[in-house]
C-alpha cells in the first residue's frame, strides 16, 4: 500500500477535509442525511441497483425473442411458475417484464438515478452554495423515492405479477383486472409507487429550482452558470410542470379502478360481462399521460446533455461552442416539449387536424436539437482532446443523440407514423436517443465526477474497455431494430411465428439478444470499477481534469458545507479554457471561475478589463454575506 501513501503526498495537496467529518451518528450521516452529497450518492447507488434489475428484465424478454424455441426450464429457479409446464415463458410474464423494464429504466434509473444524482451533487458545488435550499426536503425526496422503490420492487414478487400493460399503462387494459392478471394488485402497487415517486420528484425539483435561483455565490450570475446547472434548472422546471399531470392521470385511473368512476371507461363487454361504465374516454388518459410522457423524455435527456457539455468542453480544452445558443436551445426544447405530446397518438383515433398541428410542432423541436449537436461537434473542432472515459462517453452520447434523433424526424411525420407506429422502428428510435444517450450521459457524469464524490480515481483502462464495449453494444442491439421495424414487426409481441409477414429475421433477433447479453454483462466491469475504486482507487488530485468550475476548488473530500473557509467568489464564465494569454498569467490552459480578472491581465479581453473595477464590490458583498450568513 506504499504506493497509495505516496499518492497522498503527491496529489492531495491542502486537504482540510479532516475537520468537518464525523459529527452526528451513522443514521444522520449516511441514512437520513441532509447533506446533498450523501443524498446524491444514495440516488446514484439506488439508480445502479435499479439499472441492474431493469437490465436483467430486458435479458429475460430478449431470451424469449432471440430463442423462441428454447427450453427455458433452467429459468425455473428464478421465475418459478412463470415458466409453463412445457418449459416456455408465460405470455403474461413476458408483457410484465417489458412493462417493468420500461417503467424502471425511464423513471427509476434515468429520472431518479440521473437527475437525482447529479442535480443534487453538482448544483450546490457548482454554484458555490453550502447545501440545497432545504436539506430536509431533499432528504424527504430521497426517502420517498426509496419508498416508491420498495413498493415497485415488491410488485415484482406477487403471485398475479407486476403491471403488464406496457409502461404507458393505457386503460382500459390497466383498469380492468379481468383483462390481464397484472392489472390486479400489480397495477395497484404500480400506481401507489408512482404517486410516491411523483411526490419525491416534485420535492427534488422545487429544491433544485429554489437553490439555483437563491443560493448562487457572489458573482455567479445566470450568465456565468455552467451548462450543467442550466440543464438541471430547466429539467426541474419541466418536472414541476409535467409530473402533476401524471399524478392527475394516475389518480383518475385509481378512481376508475377502485371507486367505479368512468373517466376512461365506456361501452365495455369483457369476459362475458357488460360493465356499467359509460361516457369515459381512453384517449383522455393518453393525452394526460403524454403531457408528462413527452416532457419526461427531456427530463431524462437534458441533464445528460448538460453533463456532456461540461465534459466535452473540459476535455477538448476549449470553451463550449455557442454557450448562449446552448442555453437558448435548451429553453426552446423545454418550451416545445410541452406542445408535442400528441405525436404519440397520431393513430389513436384523435382528430386528424390535431395530427397536423402536432406534426408541425414536433418537427420544429428538431431544430434546437440539431443546433446542440452541431455545437458539440464544433467544440471538438481544433481542440486538444484528452480521452478520459467520461469524454468517450460524451462523444458516444452525441453520436447516439444524432442517430436516434434523426429517426425522430421520420416518426414525427404523421403520414409516415401510420406504418411505423408501435413497431420496432419506434423501439430503435427511443432506445438510441433517450435510453442509450441518457445512459451515456450518466456514465460520463459518473466517470467525470467520481473523484469529487469519493475522493479517489476510477480505473481508466477498465473505463475504456467499458466504453467501447457499451458503445458497440448499444449500436449492435438497437441499430438492427430499425430493419425489423421497417419490416413492420409490432412491439410487445411475445413471438412472431403466428404471422407469415413477421416470421423472418429470426437470426437477427438471436443476434440482438446475444449482443444485449454481452452488453449487459459488460456493465459489470463498470460496477466492479465503481465499488472497487471507492476503496482501492488512486487518491484523487484536487482538480484531476484541470477544470474551471467551482467544485474543483473544494477539498478532496468536501465536508458538510463544502468549502472550509469563505465561499468562493465568481469572476468569470466557466469556459476560460485555452484562452489566449492565460499561460502568461500563470494559469496554464485553464482559468478557474474564482480567479479574479485583476490577476489575469494578459488574457483579459477589453470588456473584461472594464469589469475589473467591479471586483472590490464583489469582495465586499462576499464579506458581508460571510459575516451575516442567515440573511
Amino acid at each position: 500500500m506504499a504506493s497509495v501513501v505516496l499518492d497522498v503526498e503527491h496529489n492531495a495537496v491542502g486537504h482540510d477535509d479532516h475537520d468537518d467529518h464525523h459529527h452526528g451518528n451513522f443514521w444522520t450521516n449516511y441514512v437520513f442525511s441532509y447533506d446533498h452529497k450523501v443524498i446524491a450518492k444514495q440516488y446514484l447507488i439506488s439508480g445502479i441497483l435499479w439499472a441492474i434489475i431493469g437490465g436483467g428484465l430486458s435479458l429475460l424478454f430478449r431470451i424469449q425473442l432471440g430463442f423462441p424455441e428454447a427450453d427455458l426450464e433452467w429459468l425455473r429457479p428464478l421465475l418459478g411458475d412463470w415458466i409453463t409446464e412445457g418449459g416456455k415463458m408465460d405470455t403474461t410474464f413476458y408483457l410484465a417484464a417489458v412493462t417493468m423494464h420500461g417503467t424502471i429504466m425511464v423513471f427509476f434509473v434515468l429520472t431518479a438515478g440521473l437527475s437525482g444524482t447529479f442535480s443534487n451533487f453538482l448544483i450546490p458545488l457548482q454554484i458555490g452554495a453550502r447545501d440545497m435550499a432545504s436539506g430536509f426536503m431533499n432528504m424527504l425526496s430521497y426517502w420517498l423515492f426509496a419508498l416508491a422503490s420498495v413498493i415497485m420492487l415488491a410488485s415484482l414478487f406477487i403471485s398475479t405479477g407486476p403491471a403488464s400493460g406496457g409502461w404507458v399503462i393505457y386503460p382500459p387494459l390497466s383498469a380492468l383486472p379481468q383483462a390481464v392478471s397484472g392489472s390486479g394488485l400489480g397495477m395497484t402497487l404500480w400506481l401507489v409507487s408512482m404517486v410516491f415517486f411523483i411526490a419525491s420528484s416534485l420535492l427534488g425539483s422545487i429544491n433544485y429550482i429554489s437553490t439555483v435561483i437563491n443560493l448562487r455565490t457572489v458573482g455567479m450570475s445566470f450568465g456565468k452558470l455552467p451548462l450543467t446547472i442550466w440543464s438541471f434548472f430547466i429539467t426541474a422546471v419541466i418536472g414541476v410542470l409535467s409530473f402533476p399531470v401524471l399524478f392527475a392521470a394516475a389518480l383518475l385511473l385509481v378512481f376508475d379502478r377502485s371507486f367505479g368512476t368512468s373517466f376512461y371507461l365506456s361501452d365495455i363487454f369483457i369476459q362475458g360481462e357488460l360493465l356499467s361504465n359509460s361516457g369515459g374516454s381512453p384517449i383522455l388518459f393518453q393525452h394526460l399521460f403524454w403531457f408528462l410522457g413527452h416532457p419526461e423524455v427531456y427530463i431524462v435527456l437534458l441533464p445528460a446533455l448538460g453533463l456532456t457539455s461540461e465534459v466535452i468542453s473540459t476535455n477538448s480544452r476549449k470553451p463550449i461552442f455557442g454557450y448562449k445558443a446552448m442555453i437558448g436551445s435548451m429553453l426552446g426544447i423545454a418550451f416545445l416539449s410541452f406542445i408535442v405530446w400528441a405525436h404519440h397518438m397520431f393513430v389513436s383515433g384523435m382528430n386528424p387536424f390535431l395530427g397536423t398541428v402536432f406534426m408541425l410542432l414536433t418537427l420544429i423541436i428538431a431544430v434546437p436539437s440539431a443546433v446542440k449537436a452541431f455545437n458539440y461537434i464544433t467544440t471538438l473542432f481544433r481542440g486538444n482532446i484528452v480521452f478520459t472515459p467520461a469524454m468517450l462517453f460524451s462523444i458516444g452520447l452525441v453520436s447516439l443523440f444524432i442517430s436516434g434523433g434523426v429517426t425522430g424526424i421520420i416518426l414525427g411525420n404523421s403520414a409516415l407514423d401510420i406504418q411505423l407506429h408501435d413497431t420496432y422502428f419506434v423501439v430503435a428510435h427511443f432506445h438510441l436517443v433517450m435510453g442509450s444517450a441518457s445512459f451515456f450521459g450518466m456514465m460520463a457524469g459518473v466517470y467525470h465526477w467520481y473523484p469529487k464524490m469519493f475522493g479517489r480515481m476510477m480505473n481508466n483502462a477498465l473505463g475504456y474497455v467499458h466504453f467501447w464495449l457499451t458503445f458497440l453494444g448499444a449500436y449492435l442491439v438497437f441499430f438492427p431494430m430499425h430493419y425489423i421495424g421497417i419490416a413492420g414487426f409490432p412491439r410487445r409481441y411475445y413471438s412472431f411465428t403466428n404471422f407469415d409477414a413477421f416470421s423472418t429475421f429470426t437470426d437477427l433477433n438471436t443476434f440482438i439478444s446475444i449482443a444485449a447479453m454481452v452488453t449487459v454483462a459488460g456493465q459489470f466491469i463498470f460496477v466492479f470499477n465503481f465499488f472497487w475504486s471507492m476503496f482501492k482507487g488512486r487518491l484523487a488530485p484536487l482538480n484531476p481534469w484541470k477544470s474551471t468550475t467551482l467544485e474543483w476548488t473544494t477539498p478532496r473530500k468536501p465536508g458538510h458545507g463544502n468549502w472550509p473557509g469563505a465561499l468562493p467568489i465568481v469572476y468569470r464564465w466557466p469556459y476560460d479554457l485555452s484562452k489566449p494569454g492565460s499561460d502568461k498569467d500563470g494559469h496554464g490552459d485553464f482559468i478557474p471561475q474564482n480567479v479574479p480578472l485583476s490577476e489575469t491581465t494578459s488574457s483579459n479581453t477589453p470588456e473584461e478589463e472594464d469589469l475589473v473595477q467591479l471586483e472590490d464590490g464583489l469582495k465586499k458583498l462576499s464579506d458581508h454575506r460571510e459575516a451575516n450568513p442567515f440573511i
Binding site: 403474461t92 383483462a179 393513430v347 434523426v406 403466428n498 407469415d500
Partner: protein, 342 residues
Amino acid sequence: MTTALLFATGAILIIAVLALVYRIITLVGIAKGDNTKVSSSNKINAALFPVLLVVGFIGIYWSYNDASQYFLPEAASIHGKETDFLFNTTLLVVFLAFALTHILLFTFPFFFQHSEKRTADFYPDNDKLEIAWTIVPAVVMASLVFFGWRAWSDITAPASDDAVQIELMGKQFAWEIRYPGKDLKLGKYDVANIDNTNSMGVDFDDVNATDDFMAREIYFPVNKEVELKIRAIDVLHSVFLPHFRVKMDAVPGMPTRFKFTPTITTEEMRAKTNNPKFNYELACTEVCGSGHFGMRKIVKVVSQEEYDAWLQKQKTWLEKNPDYMAVWEAKKAEKNTVAQAN
C-alpha cells in the same frame, strides 16, 4: 440449485479476474511512473473513432442490403405508395445528416487529439454559423412537414360515398368482421346487445342490420375505396394491415375509421413476391393482454368479379341464426317490463 451455484461460482470468478486485472494495471501504472499528462491510450482511443467510422458505414451498407430482402413488398394501396416514397426520401435526407455529422464527429477526435505541442483554439462562438445551422434544418423540416401534411390530409379525408364499408371489431383476442349486405349500410350496434350468439352486439331493430353478414376472412375488392369502421369492446386494440400501410387504433366507446384503396390482388402479390402461399394479414399493434401476439386475420384482395361472386355466396347473419329474432324480441320484452316496473 445447481444453476444458482453455477451462477455464483461464475460471478465470483469474474470478479476475481477483474480484481487481478485491475491490480496489475495499477501496479504497471505505478512502475511506469504515470507522470505524463496524457497516457499512451489517448492515441489508441483517438484512432478507434475513424476506424469505427469506416467499419460502421460498411456495416450499415452490408446490413441494410442483407435485411432489405425481408422488408415488406411494395405497398398494396394508393396512399401506401406515397408514404413509402416519402419514407424513403426522408430516410435518405436523415441518413445524409447522420453520415455528415458522424464523419465530423468521428474524425475530429483523431485530428484534434491531445498534443503537448499544440493548444486548443479559443473559439467560443460564431453567430453566422449558429444562424446557418438553425435555418438549414428549419427549411428542411418545413419542406418535410409540407409533404407530410399533404399526404396526411389525403389519407384522413372523408371517404367517398361509394366506398365499401367494412366493420372490424377488436376483442381479446380476435377480430370480428361485419359486412353491410345488399343495402351497403352497416346496421347500428350497442355493446349492451352482446350475448353468446350476437357477439358484435348488432341492433336488429335497425333495418340496415338485418342483411348484414359476418365473415371469417376479410375480402377487399381491388381498386375500390374501402372504409374500415373500427371499434373495440374490451381494451384498446389496433388494426394494422402492414402491406397496405394502414394502422388505426380500435377504442372501446369511440369508433374510429380508416379509408384506403387496395391496388394489388392477393394473386398478383403472390406472383410478385414469388411466394404461392403469400397472404395479406391483419395484426394487432396495441398491447391488449396475453394473447396480443396472436390476433391474426387473413385478408384477401380480389378482383371486382370475384368479390361480387363472394358477396353472392354470403348468407346474412339472421339467415344463419334463424332462431335469434325470437330471442331478440324476448330480450326486448323483458327489458321493457323491467323498465315499466321501475
